[in-house]
């Protein structure tokens, strides 16, 4: 059964019609990867789902329409968001970044520190002085701190060293045991490792959706849809 249903989503940014009727479903549990070439509207799709850009169309979570809600209310319905550029608060400490994200009475610090023990050690450090990888940990930790039924995660491995990519992928796998993840990711090895479903965008529209293994197992299709040499590597 679909936990999230996106239907006929349109976004105009200036003169550009970035999303031209995007429709897809995200099943409950596991990771669904949102794929596509650069600039096809993956990040805009997540931002539109979060209400961070003006949009038309519908986004429903477990049957409840979200598009009439403001961003903070969408988050309170249980959608956590990890933005593309991490967007940690540079002037706040790691501990303050996490404290800011607390919503319920029982923030899941045990889970967060189990996944990223480094954050406990660096609690007093200003987030702006962390490395890119550590900032990514803070961004993911903020979303995992609350018991969100859904996480939208935008390019979490972008610009990270290989070792950190592995660490982030492991965190995503762990997160997917607890929640449903919609992941924008360019690294197909990470997609192959964590995702069960894929949705492919091109020119602001969905051009493919289905099981991840089926797409990644077909190098011709990967080349045609994503413009890269792919497969399960």
């Amino acid at each position: 059964m679909a936990l999230i249903r996106v239907d006929d989503l349109h976004v105009h940014l200036g003169e550009s019609h970035v999303l031209q009727g995007v429709s897809f479903e995200v099943p409950e549990g596991g990771v669904t990867a949102l794929l596509g070439r650069n600039g096809v509207g993956k990040t805009t799709t997540l931002r539109a789902m979060m209400g961070l850009v003006p949009r038309r169309g519908t986004v429903a979570l477990a049957g409840e329409e979200l598009t009439r809600l403001r961003t903070h209310a969408i988050v309170r319905r249980g959608i956590g968001y990890v933005p593309e550029d991490r967007d940690v608060f540079a002037g706040l400490s790691v501990e303050e970044n996490l404290r800011l994200a607390e919503r319920g009475p029982k923030p899941r610090y045990e889970l967060v520190y189990e996944l990223f023990p480094e954050l406990k050690v660096r609690g007093a450090q200003k987030a702006g002085t962390l490395s890119g990888g550590q900032q990514q940990m803070v961004a993911i930790a903020r979303a995992l701190l609350n018991d969100n039924p859904v996480l939208l995660v935008d390019e979490p491995t972008k610009g990270l060293a290989p070792l950190l990519v592995t660490e982030v992928a492991a965190a995503l796998e762990r997160a997917a045991e607890l929640t449903t993840v919609l992941l924008v990711e360019q690294n197909l090895a990470v997609v192959a490792r964590v995702a069960q479903q894929v949705v492919v965008l091109d020119m602001g529209k969905v051009v493919h959706s289905g099981p991840a293994a089926e797409l990644l197992g077909d190098p011709e299709k990967v080349r045609a849809l994503l413009g890269v040499h792919g497969g399960s590597h």
Partner: protein, 293 residues
């Protein structure tokens, strides 16, 4: 030496008033991106509300000032909240309209004060001990200067404590950096907007009260004249930075006093504009930009 001490403490007193006005302006712009040109009118409203209340109660000048100031600060906070809720909130993401509305509101509020109480200055309730002087290193310093400096120091410490140790403070500090991300964490940042406007209004009103004590009178043009220097302080200090605002306010107050005395009377304002130009050339983002610390 005694002249230098007098100029320094008077400059610090003036800087204290600039800080009280500029800190609210700075937080409002840093968090919301709103240039509030009506902030000067809140100074006037606070000062007149204090004066009005002082004429309605019996007691010593001290009691009148204290009760009047509490009333004036409350009026400043409430008027600022109403401005945010009624006029600014529908215009977020429309900066040109915001500027037009706040400029128009400043004109309306000033005209309203003039229509009700006239153009003439009104005597402010100032206790005699504030007019008396205290000798510091040979200089006779009017005691009100110490009150102004102490009030600003208490506000600075209070604001820092509020920003550092409360959840609303945490939200404001984060919102100054990236308010979209604050909402993406499930926080209704508009509540922080209203609170910051209320704090800014109360501080502007406090500056109005202290300016009444400093000048001994209150007049309809008070807010506008102080607002110009407060904007300069905000630009020099960096939008959204309380620490930067405090440093800039002291610098502007001192430079004005020194230049007026040691160069030529009237050169103080020019010296402040020169300081602004130098900071804009060397550090266009201000001394400590975009971090509400």
């Amino acid at each position: 030496m005694s002249t230098f001490v007098l100029l320094t403490i008077t400059g610090l007193g003036l800087g204290a008033m600039y800080f009280l006005i500029a800190s609210g302006l700075s937080l409002i712009y840093g968090l919301m991106g709103v240039l509030n040109f009506a902030h000067g009118a809140l100074i006037t409203v606070g000062a007149y509300a204090t004066w009005w209340m002082s004429t309605k109660i019996d007691g010593s000048a001290g009691i009148k000032l204290l009760v009047g100031a509490v009333f004036g600060l409350a009026v400043g906070a409430v008027v600022a909240m109403l401005i945010e809720l009624v006029l600014i909130r529908p215009l977020y993401r429309r900066p040109v309209e915001q500027v037009l509305v706040t400029v128009g509101l400043a004109l309306v509020l000033n005209a309203l004060v003039e229509a009700i109480w006239g153009f003439d200055a009104r005597p402010f309730p100032v206790p005699s001990w504030m007019i008396d002087t205290t000798s510091v290193l040979g200089a006779s310093i009017p005691n009100d200067r110490f009150v102004e400096i102490a009030a600003a120091a208490v506000v600075l410490a209070g604001l820092n404590g509020f920003l550092r140790f409360t959840r609303f403070g945490l939200i404001i500090r984060a919102g100054v950096e990236n308010r979209a991300m604050v909402t993406a964490l499930g926080i209704d940042v508009r509540k922080a907007f209203t609170l910051v406007f209320a704090i800014g209004g109360a501080l502007a009103a406090l500056a109005g009260v202290l300016s009444g004590v400093y000048y001994g009178v209150v007049d309809p043009g008070r807010g506008t004249s102080l607002l110009i220097f407060a904007f300069i302080v905000v630009v020099i200090g960096g939008f959204g930075s309380i620490g930067g605002t405090a440093v800039a306010a002291v610098a502007v107050g001192l430079i004005q006093q020194y230049a007026n005395y040691y160069a030529s009377s009237g050169l103080g304002d020019l010296a402040v504009v020169l300081l602004l130009a130098i900071v804009l050339l060397l550090k266009p983002e201000g001394l400590a930009p975009k971090v509400a610390h």
